[in-house]
Amino acid sequence: MAAPKTRWRARPETSGRVTGWPARRHRLALGTLAVLVAAVVLVPLFARLDQQLVDLPSSGLAPSWAHPFGTDEVGRDVLLRSIYGLRVSLLVGLTAAVAGVLIGGLVGLAAGTAGGGVDRLLMRIVDGFNALPHLLFGIFIVALFSPSAIAVIVSVAVTHWTTAARIVRSEVLSLRGRPFVDAAISGGSSRARIVRRHFLPNLAPHLLLAAVLMIPHAIWHETALSFLGLGLPAHLASLGNMINDGQRSLLAGDWWSSLFPGLLILLPTLAISALAQHLRDRSSPRHRSESAL
């Protein structure tokens, strides 16, 4: 380790103290996520959404007490549809993130454990995937395999596993050099046992962080594909579909049916990245103290 950074390096005009906002930010993020998740879980229990409902007399109503988010071009309540849409987006995002981290984790583990030619080949493949514009690849997959939730999940998972693979590989490489692994090897442990008993528990926090960080990406991807008409079936309430519907009535002055679904993409994304930032700072004290300088 290098010598600890001394305080005089700090520029005089910075206070060097973590101010209230960053310290409280993760609580706000947790609160936001809790409210959103509660809405997504509880609201469908009390208010059923008829996906096919058309109620033309109350179409295009501006936000009011009866319809806090207004109604869309065929008279559907934007608030209720947004909550159902968020539920779909979160489910698709979560599934895709878990699938992506599983693929990436396996590849990273294989590359890091095997080393040599296998490692080089796998990392070349990772580079190759990184060179592809993700959305374009997703469009390609969804176009050829009819739009559906499964196609969206697959297209997100196969384009987003590379980060997890890199993280796991570098972590395995650093674990390989630790004394307790040497001890396990000289104690006669098999490779499978070392992976199971020593690598996986140490990798778990990194995998969790990678999965959490991937959820906003996956949500973004799902909404973008749906927005382009290449995601979930068009009648289904999903945030991307709703913004796509809102695009049509926007020129008539109806801003609410695209604004609110977009806000529901923005909020969880911001909350999750603030939370991930917090987790990263906590897991690395060096990073925390440096960012406090």
């Binding site: 700090a10 060179a131 801003w255 994304t269």
Partner: protein, 325 residues
């Protein structure tokens, strides 16, 4: 010469990548349940005999093995023939040729604007760290980073086209005009360029801020300040110069995101470029066009990385003189 070596090395690296990507496209198309002959026939599929369908299939070469189809496509590609777009009924090269310029125009302008926003905003935020302008700039950047670009585009249309009526909502020219005139084009260009630049500049801004904050702590900046240089001089002449080096590489690495942004922005603003055409090709499952556009995007990514490497040799005297990275 350093740059010759870099170009050669990049070309060697790019060839297998491009081959893998294009082959994967063909494998996916083969595995897909979609049948282009049925699509071509449409309603006539009911009345067309199987032998005629088989003849079309043979004519298009769809009955041949995957590798053979792929090799034929590669061979045609080398001679500049990308096949015919099934949805537009035009040669793919013509489709791309007509639209590539419009995409390059938007992306080029957006890139320039995004550099300005990112550099100025990021440096200001780093210089006055933890002040209220920093909070404002950084907060906005985080929000923009989290906001989907198509949604930002729609909000911009609502504010500037619907409410204020300052700018047109989309397209290349006014619907009434038959020719493209410069003032008309510029008016239509503003919103797509600003939205694309804005959405892409947030990560750049945060990166520049982080980088400059780090460099401001280095000894040579402290030294410059200690010698009595003004803080602005130390910032611009000393800190910024070395803070920008990693930034060149990261610019090159962000080309995929730029392509993604261009696709969405062109879709929102009905801009007649290649990126927006990708969506039309995908919706129509127009494989020849989609394959060519995917290849084009991958080439753009490879070129981006190459340009970043070349720019590095110019910017970093260590690489320029010693040839080390």
């Amino acid at each position: 010469m350093t740059w010759v070596r870099i170009v050669a090395w990049r070309a060697v690296m790019a060839a297998p990548l491009l081959l893998a990507v294009t082959f994967a496209m063909f494998a996916l198309a083969k595995a897909s349940p979609f049948d282009p002959v049925r699509q071509y026939l449409g309603d006539r599929a009911m009345t067309t005999g199987p032998e005629i369908a088989a003849r079309i299939r043979a004519n298009w070469g769809l009955d041949r093995p995957l590798v053979e189809q792929y090799v034929t496509w590669l061979g045609n590609l080398v001679t500049g023939d990308l096949g015919e777009s099934r949805s537009l009924r035009l040669p793919v090269t013509q489709v791309i040729g007509e639209r590539l310029g419009w995409t390059l125009l938007v992306v080029g302008c957006a890139l320039a604007l995004m550099l300005v926003i990112g550099l100025v905003g990021g440096t200001l935020a780093a210089w006055r760290r933890d002040s209220w302008p920093d909070r404002l700039i950084t907060g906005t950047a985080f929000a923009v980073e989290a906001a989907p670009v198509f949604w930002v585009g729609l909000l911009a249309i609502w504010v500037f086209a619907v409410k204020l009526g300052w700018l047109p909502a989309g397209g290349l020219t006014d619907a009434a005009s038959a020719t493209v005139t410069l003032p008309d084009l510029l008016r239509h260009l503003v919103l797509p360029v600003v939205v694309l630049a804005f959405s892409q500049s947030s990560w750049l801004l945060l990166f520049v801020r982080e980088s400059v904050v780090g460099v401001l702590r280095e000894d040579f900046v402290l030294g410059a300040r200690a010698r009595g240089l003004r803080s602005r001089t130390a910032l611009v002449r000393h800190a910024l110069r070395s803070a920008l080096l990693p930034f060149i590489t990261i610019m090159g690495a962000r080309v995929p995101e730029l392509v993604t942004g261009a696709i969405l922005v062109e879709a929102v603003f009905s801009w007649p470029g290649v990126a927006g055409t990708t969506i039309k090709a995908a919706l129509a499952v127009d494989f020849p066009l989609l394959a060519a556009l995917t290849l084009l995007a991958t080439v753009a990514v490879v070129l981006g990385n190459l340009l970043a490497d070349l720019a590095y040799t110019v910017a970093d005297p260590r690489v320029r003189v010693l040839g080390v990275g």
